[in-house]
Amino acid sequence: MPSSLEILVFLPILAALAIGFGAPARFTAIGAAIINLGIGLVAAKSYNVNIEGGAVFQLESSRVLLESPKLALAFGVDGMSLILMLLTVIVTLAAVWASPAESKIKGSPKLYYISSLLIAAGALGAFLSTDLFFLYAFHELALIPTFLMIGMYGHGKNRKRTAWTITIYLGVGSLILLAGLIALFVNIGQNDTFSIAEMIVRAQDSETMIPEATQSWIYLLLLVGFGVLVSLFPFHSWAPDAYADAPTPISMLHAGVLKKFGLYGLIRIAGPMLPAGAEKWMNLVLVLLLGNIIILGLVTIAQKRLDRMIGMSSVMHMGYVFLGVVAGGTIGISGAVLLMFAHGVSIALLFALAGSLRERFGSLEFDKLGGGLGKLVPKLGLLFGFAAFASIGLPGFANFAAEVMIFFGAFQPMEANAPLSFLQWAAIISLWGVVISAVYMLRAFRKIFKGPLTTTETPKDMSWNERVPALLLIVSLMLVGFYPEILLKYLRPALESLTLIGS
């Protein structure tokens, strides 16, 4: 009997297979996504938040595939993976629902939905695996669907080049990551286990701990590998183009969910297994994340196309999550995880709405869109406003709660009357990023939806097929925004155990 987490991972794959063999594409995909959302919520409900420390993963299942070295198809959740799992099922449902109807897809509609489902399955598998090997392997499941989707259904003349860029970038990034993970396996797993829980225990046991020099170079490999996946400055250049040119559901899934894998890996693997390495490279990470927030923030302001701007902004916001990761501690990590959720939902919402705009007006260039569209499509305008506010981080949305926690986290280790450390200076500089994102988001909103109307087209306002996913995302954002405890309670036992922070 498969466990609930196994069903969660394999249901999208089965649905994709069914579509391949002729099941109605949209119906099957949405059905699978709804069932998955249900399973995800039930799993969250059955997660025991009151366990005192020690308990590492819950709802575990494991099928041993190889005895020596021990390799198992093992799933389990702790607070962090649970939150990311919820993010995935929510965004998947929204992305599949926001996909165009079968008749509107030029080319094979089957492939379109199959790709989205496979990307979702890959993300779920990566977040839920408690085995280092499958954590990596599942993430790569998205590689080919992304490549095919951007090349076949993408927007714009450059879509083929974009597809190549993202594939080569991510391919090389994951190879570097793989080298780092194998080094981890050889040094910490001592060649006999891939189990993440066991490896963390060994990494923190003073007898089996690995020397600082080794930690340092492995951490660097992981940082570059995960950094490429999460578009850390200066490895970010694949992201904005890819998100801009990809079909809407792919942008939603990639920017919203899949990209979080890099951060997830850093928090889950690099942090606890290589504490000395993390310490050593902390300043480098701080410099790079400032690059994300400030340099890329300014680049975002200069964008002339809405989709590129959203793509850039999603890259920029990764800097805050990094800040939370570097700050560490209960508050910093909680903030980082919460921001991953909030950012994932809000960016998916922005891409969905941008997709609706593109479908109506054919282009997303600010100049061509003109202004005053709020009068033509008031509901779209309203929702876009919500999404923009959420992305900036206004109170009431999950992003606000998360960013505040991250900034507090950065100041938490500070002693009274001590001079500011580099971490705190970085946090202070990053605060300006909030201003930058307010500038570009509000400017875009004003340019597109306010002012005099210039276009002569008279499109319909949002259909229900567009409204449902948008509302789903907004409700989740506001729910968490007003009541962050709904997610934070899951993090608590994990934070106290070894999985996240270490002893």
Binding site: L65, L66, S68, P69, L71, L73, S108, L111, F133, Y136, A137, F138, H139, E140, L141, L143, I144, F147, L148, G151, M152, K160, A163, W164, T167, I168, G171, V172, L175, I176, L178, A179, I182, A183, F185, V186, N191
Partner: protein, 502 residues
């Protein structure tokens, strides 16, 4: 049943096929191929049932045929690779007959319309017997004879389409370079015999481990042998015959060459280099040679594949690239466990190489099956000829997608585990950083040229003239589906292959 009966059955099968062609009137000569497929499938199942002698003392036969406990599993595994490849190649050949007959039979001269077909089915069976023997050969003489049995058969098969310029040219090139490598091999064997005074690999290993051994002469012998075997497996800098021969040979034979011949080359390489890894002084130098070969092969195979536009040629370079990964496994020094226990399979070069070859068989044969089906419809082997394959035949496109993904090493496919184990072995044994870097560069380049095929199939519209649907015969379809399932199954449960090596 004694294990050597298998080779006997296969040889007898070949003879029966020749007789059948001469004395039985057949409407459709493909029946000969189906018969062979049937018998070989039985042989494949019999691999699980064979028995080994209790003692090999004093029997002259077992001086030529390996019966050592430690290597029995590998012998059987490589025999299995040979048989399975032959089965699939025969099915491919039956599919390929239309193209083949165009360049062999000349009905207007009064020849039988299917003349030459049955020999095309028979020769791979003889090659298979040679390959199976090679998997067990443990004596320089038997290695030489089995290797030549295979090579000479391949000379004929490569040049088989004698009215096709490409095939003939490929045959001539393969002939000259194959014979050249034979010359090196024999001369190397001679010196190895001169240095050690014995033909037995076990004896050679013993002698080479002695302090009294003449290291210079032993290294000279090794150099000659490595040149010869480098030719066979396609290691740079001895690889330059591969692209031309692969491109010119009939497609099923290209598949046969790239899988079975490579596997056989590697088992001989493993066995012979195993002799040299016995002593410290020699093994260090021999290891260094392998590191250099591996780096060159990885870089050459992968980088030269990047600009290729002919699909068959691309696969030729890819086969060089994979030889590079296999050499990388060979170049990572073999771990020796202190307490004398057998090391786990995946910590040894031979275990990793066996797994890699098993995975390589699945994905390469799948690619060639698709290529055969496409070749039936069009002359064009170039990548443009595969444009829009997703529209012409979604099934073939999906098959090729799986095969390319696996060759590129996308996780959850068999090919990924192959590369993964190679890298794991290299990192775990502290292989030199340049080797690992070359491996990473090679794998990254692989993403590009394999994905190029995928892009051509899915992104582009079919080219003018090459846009009709592509029929696939039932047996080929069944084999393809089985291969696809196997690729994913092994990609999740590697034990499916590892369990066979016992």
């Amino acid at each position: 049943m004694p294990v050597y009966y298998l080779e006997i059955i296969v040889v007898v099968l070949g003879l029966v096929m020749l007789m059948a062609d001469a004395f039985v009137k057949l409407e459709d000569k493909r029946n000969i191929a189906w018969f062979a497929v049937l018998v070989l499938s039985v042989v494949f199942l019999l691999l699980f049932k064979v028995s080994w002698p209790e003692s090999t003392e004093g029997s002259p036969f077992w001086k030529f045929y390996d019966a050592e406990k430690g290597s029995r599993g590998f012998s059987l595994f490589f025999k299995g690779i040979a048989v399975l490849t032959t089965i699939i190649v025969l099915i491919m050949s039956a599919e390929f007959r239309g193209v083949l007959l165009k360049y062999t039979a000349k009905p207007e001269d009064g020849a039988h319309p299917q003349s030459g077909l049955s020999e095309f089915f028979t020769l791979p069976v003889f090659a298979c017997a040679g390959l199976m023997w090679m998997a067990s050969a443990n004596n320089l003489a038997s290695i030489f004879v089995s290797l030549e049995a295979v090579t000479i058969t391949f000379y004929i098969l490569v040049a088989y389409m004698r009215r096709n310029v490409g095939s003939l040219e490929a045959g001539v090139k393969y002939l000259i370079l194959g014979a050249l490598s034979t010359g090196f091999l024999v001369y190397g064997f001679t010196w190895l015999f001169g240095v050690t005074g014995t033909m037995d690999l076990a004896g050679i290993k013993e002698q080479l481990a002695l302090d009294s051994v003449n290291v210079t002469a032993a290294l000279f012998a090794f150099a000659l042998i490595i040149v010869a075997l480098g030719f066979k497996v396609g290691a740079a800098p001895f690889q330059n015959w591969i692209p031309d021969v692969y491109q010119g040979a009939p497609t099923p034979i290209t598949a046969f060459l790239s899988v079975a011949s490579k596997a056989a080359g590697f088992i001989v390489l493993l066995r012979i280099s195993g002799c040299f890894f016995g002593s410290g002084d020699l093994s260090e130098k021999v290891g260094a040679v392998f590191v250099v070969l591996a780096i060159l092969t990885l870089l050459f195979g992968n980088l030269a594949a990047l600009p290729q536009t002919n699909f068959k040629r691309l696969l030729a370079y890819s086969s060089i690239a994979h030889a590079g990964f296999l050499l990388m496994a060979l170049a990572s020094p073999i771990t020796l466990v202190a307490d004398g226990k057998e090391p786990p399979l995946l910590d040894t070069s031979i275990g990793v190489i066996a797994f890699y070859l098993g995975a390589y068989l699945l994905m390469t044969l799948l690619a060639f099956l698709v290529m055969t089906a496409v070749r039936n419809q069009q002359e064009d082997d170039s990548l443009e000829g595969y444009a829009g394959l997703a529209k012409r035949s979604p099934f073939l496109a999906f098959s090729l997608l799986v095969s390319m993904a696996s060759l590129a090493g996308v996780p959850l496919t068999a090919g990924f585990f192959g590369k993964f184990f190679v890298f794991k072995l290299a990192i775990q044994n502290g292989a030199c950083g340049w080797l690992i870097a070359a491996g990473v560069i090679g794998a990254a380049a692989g993403f590009y040229y394999y994905f190029k095929v995928i892009a051509s199939m899915f992104w582009n519209a079919p080219a003018e003239g090459n846009d009709g649907p592509i029929p696939v015969s039932m047996p080929a379809k069944v084999v393809m589906v089985l291969l696809i399932i196997a690729i994913f199954a092994v990609g999740i449960v590697p034990n499916l292959i590892l369990g066979l090596i016992k």
